[in-house]
Symmetry: D2
Subunit: 341 residues, 4 copies
């Protein structure tokens, strides 16, 4: 068989582990040929690819990023995107394509599959917001990095009697904030799923001050917002160059808390650091298993499907189901976290 | 309510996170009192305990070890152990006891429960060998530490054209070897569940040598053994002081491979390092959730039960069921790993 | 003897190691009594202190922050600050005081010493800008953290063909940028000591783009500035609440490079993360040695002096000399770095 | 100019950083050609080499090991070794050779230099035992790894009331034991420079037990030995396969302490893990500077010399001087450490 692989969308630790695993399983065990398209769908649309053999994937298991490169290009960006992709698949004699990517990529994968292409998806998002899988690789690494940063900030805040508001990734869901906040013992966590009440945050912070505690650490998902009307809030947006404007939740919330509590408060924005670096062992194992099972699905002809983790098993779920809903933080999980803050 | 907590058996990263979580949930949310017995069942048997309030658990979330201490004492070690424990529970006016421990502790917990004591267990083992839960806290930290060591050893072995056999924990099951070996890209993994064929290992190593590869890294669970008759093997045992004798799988296997391959081979034994240190974010979150749900079970009167992870949910399973079988590495999981070695 | 200790100014990994070492050397070896003032000079001015014995410093060696707390209060902030400090020293029967702090603290220490107080200083700054010592503790930890972040960012930038401008600490000197940039293989480093030429940076970035390189990583000290006239630059400053306004070097430089290169460029600001966390082994050893030698200086009556590292030796230098000049990055060191970028 | 580089002897984090720096400085700034010999002197003796350009050293800065490979072969192992090396240098038109290695390598370098070859050495040893330089790269990484292991072991020992004897590298000098022991707060440190008194160690341990301390952590250099006559001691040695026999300081000392103290004691041998892995930022900077200055020395014709760190400067010292004495732990340094144990 001939199989094509591509990585699309935002960077995510574990991508290389999937690529390596696909190549090992397909080439060594099945005698397949594998090629990798450069820079995501762009490579497929422009027929830009390289051969992937064992040597090509040597030493990449623990490396962050993706040796294939990535971009945010989608087939639907071109009027004839799907047709073009089809043409190239045929031209290259590919029996299947394995796109590794997040929500946008999986939607594109579904589109391609619906139009008859042999597609097996592998979900990827550090945000952990894909509903049909217990977890996606990259999430554990991102949470680990954010927790490490929160651990460090806690000690420095303690020495200075400070409020710190730390912004972690999560535009639409608060999973990274929830897990890193629980893991590091943040004193408050704000997530997009649950607009926060600034009065309550202030009260909680005030109690810490009164109790003589020297630090208050707030973990804030990028997309967290105040309950409507509870405080002035600039939702931000892009400037004329397409850059995010500089407001953001951490800056606005720290300013507000400083004024309300009369305590020095500082914002910290972790940013891209969360996406990079060596994947954790957890993510490397999960990514490796996803790659392995994607190849198996190809050989079984399980197209239009995607790998997913359920408990300790890797299962296949339909791409259609996969992109239906976003997995948000449920009330129970938030309650668990809130208690130990 | 009054609740007693204890930690028993081998050390495991995340114990403090469970203790802290039990105290937060019980004291803050339910207005309970919590006491901690010192050094496991020993503290219960000798009525040696301390009060656990929020201050007592301040700053322990990310700390390895257990602030309560641990020991390998079990109630069954005393003829009147269970009676004595009962007496102390009554004396102290305890409504429930939460033992946190591994197989031995959970068996003791079941025994106590069967004799009428209000027990809710929390499973703990870095070996990940408890069948009724997807995973136990401590395992992720142990795998992370072992993977980090394997990563380091790989680079040094590469510079020197060497075979390294690295012994990781796992007397009865090979989970740590399997996951760390997959994560670090070991070239062979040997586990207790599947006696290895020394001829096959030699052949595999020989292929690497012929292919000009500079390193062969073998991940070996402590309890791994050769297939009967395939090579001389000293199963070890205790010397007269109760110490393990010095043989062990890594030393014997590296010696054997050195002679068979004619390449320098070295053993590395990771040992206790795997049990210590700051728990990973994954383990802190899981441990925190276990503690939270154990308190809920106490308040619901769900005795004779134990917390467990199933998918993303914390559920309660009966202690009787919990200690029935050991969770061993199944053939499919080994096959996944073998392919990408 | 009775000795007082205090930590003043910005947080710095290793402060606790100094405190612990002072207590061990003074209490155990010399039979001294040691007290610690809370929150820096503030504690001395307000006579707010605690007794420091071996138990008080148990387990703090590897902990970031300072158990004594810190503040930016200086004796000179009060009209009668020095007199008040003198009074409290006498009242408490102190034979010496050991202030641990940065430039401001050392200047205050000198002032106190000049007015007759028995002072032995310990220099502290993550910026490494004190001229009379080869290095100060905290710097190695800060560089390590910044390097780790740069390592991570490099992989993620590579996947996306991006320019990243990473802002590290260093308002007046570029030591952290220089060392972390060299260690991580940044492609350009900008420091306050050497206003950068935006044309040259652009040319250098353009060469990478043309050579098909996927990433350009710029390490920028907070205080780095363009050569006058070479580009528009907002020097920032405080807003009406005393907060830094949001401009900063990373944001402005990334915007400028994006426009000039026609490549996506992003700013990352590492911020307080660099100050926190467990000190590196290097910093713990240096801090421990500083504490030990400060006590020896007290016992020798070497007042008005400060500990310093010269080669592998700890020596004493006069506080007067210590605060004379800032240690800036010399041209040779910058040249070394530039070559390997 | 044409320059040859080689790495010889035991593995050491930072070797790749030196190689990369030599190539950058020589190729980019001086327009030189650089070749690398494979597996140390072996490559020179067998004329086995590869061309080193910027691409060849891309991405290696943070990687452990050496891309050139290493071996323990020395020119003096062959009767005509030096002549052969000379011949190959001439054949290849090399103007200089830069051997990077430890004591043995530097002695060989001196021999070659004395016989007229243009040699500039770069010292390398994780043991830090070369007298003419303040420190060598690799040492900081080894100390960091050992400290991290000691930190982890401390928490697990605390939970179990145990004595742990941790064996770190250092056959002839105790630098790694000294620094990691100080950094981690070991309770005793034994080094080759100062035969230990088992009675004193027992007394010190006994005091901890009496004081109710739960853990005693001993940092032991491989080469540490008891004072003659103070306890039975097997100095070990090689078995018939050239392997170290299994005794060692950690096993013997833990057994002895267990019997004398009546407390469980366990040995941990860190082994090769200390040599591998990503070099610390400190080591990357030092290694990079060494490489840079070695190229400068070549261009100045400073042959028979070696790079060294003195304070914050890189200086050149003669190879003759470099190999004269071993840098051992002086009494003052041991005294500093002893106090804070």
């Amino acid at each position: 068989m001939r199989i094509g692989v591509l990585t699309s969308g935002g960077d995510c630790p574990g991508l290389n582990a999937v690529i390596r695993s696909v190549v090992h399983r397909a080439v060594v065990d099945h005698g397949d040929e594998v090629i990798g398209f450069r820079d995501g769908w762009k490579g497929l649309l422009e027929c830009d690819y390289l051969k992937l053999d064992l040597d090509a994937v040597g030493g990449i298991l623990a490396r962050g990023g993706t040796i294939l490169g990535s971009s945010r290009v989608q087939p639907s960006h071109l009027r004839d995107g799907v047709e073009r992709a089809k043409g190239h698949l045929q031209e290259l004699g590919l029996d299947a394509i394995i796109p590794i990517g997040g929500e946008g990529t999986l939607k594109a994968a579904r589109l391609m599959s619906d139009s008859g292409l042999p597609v097996v998806g592998v979900p990827k998002t550090i945000d952990n917001d894909i509903a049909v899988t217990d977890v996606t690789f990259g999430f554990d690494t991102a949470v680990g990095g954010a927790t490490d940063a929160l651990d460090r900030l806690k000690t420095t805040a303690e020495s200075h009697q400070r409020v710190l508001v730390v912004e972690v990734m999560g535009r639409h869901t608060g999973w990274i904030a929830l897990h890193s906040g629980m893991a590091a013992g943040a004193h408050a966590i704000v997530v997009p799923e649950r607009p926060f009440d600034i009065e309550e945050l202030t009260r909680r912070g005030g109690e810490r001050v009164e109790a003589g505690k020297r630090v208050a650490l707030v973990g804030a998902a990028e997309g967290a917002k105040p309950a409507p009307g509870s405080m002035d809030f600039d939702e931000g947006g892009k400037d004329i160059y397409g850059h995010e404007r500089f407001a953001g939740i951490a800056r606005q919330l720290s300013l507000e808390l400083e004024q309300r509590l009369g305590k020095e408060a500082r914002p910290v924005i972790l940013g891209h650091v969360q996406r990079g670096g060596t994947p954790t062992a957890y993510d490397r194992v999960l990514a490796t298993r996803f790659g392995w099972h994607a190849v198996e699905a190809v050989h079984r002809g399980d197209f239009g499907m995607m790998t997913a983790l359920r408990g300790t098993d890797i299962v296949m779920v339909s791409l259609a189901e996969a992109v239906e809903t976003l997995k948000t933080v449920p009330a129970e999980r938030y309650a668990e976290a809130e208690c130990v803050l």
